[in-house]
């Protein structure tokens, strides 16, 4: 009889273990916590801010929306990426690699409906959570593909005016999307005069290596340096006419705003990055990206 009791206890225990991942952690403001095949994901809410947090260190990698104003950028980098439109205001097709909570596609949906946006996200679970908790949807004119970013660009022959890379976090980056070979692939998927926009953190040696790698592929490389955060955005193009001084004028021509994003403020952050000594060019063969990420400058 005792044997049965133990088995029952074990089975009940096992049941708890296997119960749906979303063990909503009590009265805390955590709406969801669980694992996808790639990440440990937590969704929490503070006031009207709702955030999708990747990894266990809850302060680092996150994507947030303001529930009342879903087009207001809570993080500086997400508005900085829209500076891409200062270089290619007439862009008709944009490819975004990395969905997160879907802030960027939401801004496109609300304020840039004329642009065809193709979003590529590797993790199907992130898409599900973005739809469920962040009001993400794919309107007519946008599309979403679940695939590895590099695989997608390689297989699809589509071309874009801007390609945005937002798959990088402060503590892990998919190394195969940092290399010279990858950037050459990206360049081959750009229309004439198209640009690449990449979000990353400025304070590690990885940043210098990434600048060096961009320079090995593109004629013009600019960096937008965050003023409120440690975020940087790299903008690269082959068109020599791209010029940081012209960005203010372009912002003026565009009316100064995309939704709630202040283009004048973004234009002011643009710099021509100085060449760091001894920064390596990352290739498929030599790629210590994740180790460089841990080394602060």
């Amino acid at each position: 009889m005792r044997g049965y009791g133990i088995i029952v206890i074990l089975l009940v225990g096992l049941g708890f273990f296997l119960a749906p991942q979303a063990l909503a952690a009590g009265g805390d403001n955590i709406l969801y916590e669980g694992d996808s095949i790639y990440h440990h994901i937590t969704i929490r809410q503070d006031g009207k801010e709702r955030c999708m947090i990747f990894g266990r260190r809850r302060d680092l990698r996150q994507t947030c929306i303001d529930l009342e104003m879903p087009d207001a950028a809570i993080f500086e980098y997400s508005s900085m990426m829209f500076a891409g439109f200062l270089f290619r205001p007439e862009a008709k097709a944009v490819c975004l690699i990395g969905l997160g909570g879907g802030y960027i596609p939401t801004v496109f949906r609300m304020h840039l409906p004329q642009v065809r946006l193709r979003t590529v996200e590797v993790d199907p679970h992130v898409e599900k959570l973005a739809r469920q908790y962040f009001g993400f949807s794919v309107p007519a004119g946008q599309s979403l593909t679940i695939d590895d970013g590099r695989q997608f660009l390689k297989k699809s022959q589509e071309r874009y005016d801007q390609i945005w890379l937002d798959a990088f976090n402060s503590d892990y980056i998919p190394a195969h999307m940092t290399t010279k070979e990858f950037l050459k692939l990206v360049r081959s998927r750009l229309n004439e005069g198209g640009i690449v926009v990449q979000n990353l953190f400025c304070d590690s040696k990885f940043y210098d290596a990434q600048i060096a790698t961009f320079r090995s592929v593109f004629a013009k490389v600019f960096a937008f340096e965050g003023q409120r955060s440690g975020s940087c955005v790299i903008v690269a193009s082959d068109r020599p006419a791209s010029d940081p001084a012209g960005l203010r004028k372009q912002a003026e021509r565009m009316g100064g705003w995309i939704g709630r994003i202040d283009l004048y403020a973004e234009a002011a952050k643009c710099k021509v990055p100085s060449a760091a000594r001894k920064a390596p060019v990352l290739t498929d063969d030599y790629n210590p990206a994740n180790l460089l990420l841990m080394e602060k400058k």
Binding site: I37, Y38, V122, D147, D148, R150, Q151, K154, P174, A175, H176, M177, T179, E181, F182, T283, D284, D285, Y286, N287, P288, L291, L292
Partner: protein, 209 residues
């Protein structure tokens, strides 16, 4: 007698280290062609497990058929040459397979097997081969099967961490693999040249039992 132990430990540590170093590096070889997803690690780990099991069976069988260190060393020589060829091989193999197999899981699994089946299976023969020789050569009661696995696993531990923590940040992957191939080649040649079987008297089948 000491020299026999020296050779056994050298083989166990070096090939134990090289095999795990290759496993770490294989993700760098695969990800440009098949993506950086969890599937890649699934392919890498499962392929290596299959290669290990083939090597264990083959090593056990061969050590009974030919209980000679020189036979093992000859296999390891072939393995070394294969490792040296990997930097020249992998790009065209991965390119071809990723273009012809749409599913990255299947593609990476195929690539892992084409590139690593031969060398990793041969490396996996080292431990069972040495256990087999030791068992036939009764004098080495000191070297138990557990001890053999322990020594080779210490090598694997070193190979994994040195590669992941240091080598990847210092050298291109292709050069690290060349280095591993050179280590394998040097060790197998040393073992062959030492003609270690002179020191191991294995009683023939008739006088056993």
């Amino acid at each position: 007698m000491q020299i026999v132990y020296f050779v056994f430990v050298l083989l166990l540590v070096s090939f134990g280290a090289v095999v795990m170093s290759l496993e770490i590096l294989s993700s760098n070889l695969m990800s440009p062609y098949f993506g950086g997803s969890i599937y890649i690690w699934g392919s890498i780990i499962s392929s290596f497990m299959v290669h290990f099991s083939l090597g264990y069976v083959a090593g056990g069988y061969l050590s009974r058929r030919f209980p000679k260190v020189s036979v093992l060393a000859a296999f390891l020589l072939v393995c070394s040459l294969w490792v040296l060829a990997i930097p020249f091989l992998y790009q065209s193999v991965c390119e071809f397979l990723s273009e012809n197999i749409a599913d990255v899981r299947l593609g990476s699994l195929a690539a892992m097997n084409v590139i690593f089946l031969v060398p990793v299976s041969i490396m996996a023969m080292v431990s069972p081969y040495i256990i087999g020789i030791s068992a036939a050569w009764r004098r080495t009661s000191g070297l138990t099967a557990g001890m053999v696995l322990f020594i080779s696993t210490v090598g694997s531990f070193a190979g994994t961490n040195i590669t992941a923590f240091y080598l990847i940040s210092l050298f291109p992957v292709s050069r690290i693999i060349m280095g591993l191939g050179m280590i394998c080649l040097t060790v197998s040649l040393i073992v062959l040249l030492l003609r270690i079987d002179r020191w191991i008297g294995i009683p023939d089948a008739n006088s056993r039992g």
